[in-house]
Amino acid sequence: MSSILVDAPFVLIILALYALTRWMLWLILWLGAPE
């Protein structure tokens, strides 16, 4: 249980960085990129 608590923030940061970068793809499409 304690391991999950100490690891969860860092795993979440990795996933959040991934999600944020995926969001950039949509942002770039909005800026006029070809499909």
């Binding site: 990795i14 770039i28 499909e35």
Partner: protein, 572 residues
Amino acid sequence: MTAASFGLVTFFLLMTVLCVKPVGVYISQVMQGAPIWPLRVGRRFEAFIYRLCGMDPTVETGWRRYASTLLLFNVLGALLVYVLQRVQAWLPLNPQKLSAVSPDSSFNTAISFVTNTNWQGYSGESTMSYLTQMAALATQNFLSAASGIVVAVALIRALARHSAKTIGNCLVDITRCTLYVLLPLAVLLALALVSQGVVQNFSAYQDVTTVETPTQTLPMGPMASQESIKELGTNGGGFLNANSAHPYENPTAVTNFLEMFAMILIPAALTATFGRMVGDARQGWAVFAAMTVLFVGLVVTAVHSEQLGNPLVAKLGVDQAASPLQSGGNMEGKETRFGIAASALFATITTGTSCGAVNSMHDSFTPLGGFVPLFNMQLGEVVFGGVGTGLYSMLIFAIVGVFIAGLMIGRTPEYLGKKIEAFEMKMSSVAILVMPFSVLAGTAIAVQVAAGQAGVGNPGAHGFSEILYAFTSASNNNGSAFAGLSANTVFYNTALGLVMWIGRFWPIVAVLAIAGSMAAKKRVPATSGTLPTHGPTFVVLLIGTVLLVGALTFVPALALGPIVEHLTMWGR
């Protein structure tokens, strides 16, 4: 600059020039799936990998799918590296019974190796089991290097094609690059390193009796195999804390030369790959020429500054003159077996190529000598840059350069027959500005908060340089450390982890978007108003663009660090 230094630099450049074309052509053949014998030999194994992954290697994708696949591939790699470090205590190949790596250090290392940075806040020999070193770190050395190369290849394909909707298949590109380019070269280099005495075994650490201390523990492990891809893939993460300054990783002048050469080989050769794939070798040579001119300027500055020595030490009566018995100059933090030239040349290559391996302590360089590695990274690592990253970053500068030239003469800018329009300029701006933003914002935050100030080993201008260097190294995915900064803290592990990811993947997404846009464009025939991009005028334009962007962005910060330190040292 001594005659020996001049000879070493000249011989190194000569070897590089000689290998650019054959290696570059080979890479282009591999990435285009040409029927050459290595691909024929490995065809069945390659097909087995595709079947295992359930993918059709003949299907190409557009830039969005290419980018999505690359991102997913790398985030899964990051999670795997994180987990392996956290559970290494329960896994085999851990003769030293090393415990699990701390969560913040595991996070930093996972991002670091996936982004090709290899920033190391930990000490390898006392932290990582052999399994972690191989299955997590060395594996990522291959895959992150391949990830960089495939982005460059995708951009080249986009420039070579016209009215196309696809830029390649990301996983096929990664597989071919790993199997036919990185693995064979890494095996060859590892064997050469072992022949020179680099350690390669699975033994437990050895306790030996020495003259000075009762016993000393000598680290063992699979070092040569990691060392080879560390340099070839411009990764830089050492098996040992002292990295390539340690005699087990880099024992002789021969290994030092091989390691320097391995760092520059693929980044330089990719310029020939570019020329070959766009159907005009001169385009590749023009980019190579611009990189070489910048490289020579930086090497000469670094070697000269280090050979000049330290005036404060000279006042103490220390002999810093070069002679048959000593290298002379500033030898603090350098290995006597390498001396000034091999250390300064190594430092220039490792920061120019995004590698980050070190054979001397950059923190101990003279202010101007230390300025070179720092500025090299701040130029965006385009001299010759990381594997793939150097070429695509330079091509982005080329796009900006022809845009500026187009504005000056009042014509629509073109590059390789493709019109450069608003979208390409927006994406080029994103690709170029992400790095300075994360460097300067990260440094500004670190010098303001107590957790950031706590890591500084030398207060004042040099301490500022230490923090600026750390964020510059992380954002550029270089990974070399200035030393002097205690970075294995929750603050630095987390902050540097964030900027490593942003500095790697945000520009990659922008570059792939440019690739998608360029592939879809029609080719415009060259006219009398077209700026030739294979001649000396373009080379000068490209160098000017790189220097202007780098200088304008970072001179204020550099003035607070190495420049003021240089003036203070020589003004006393």
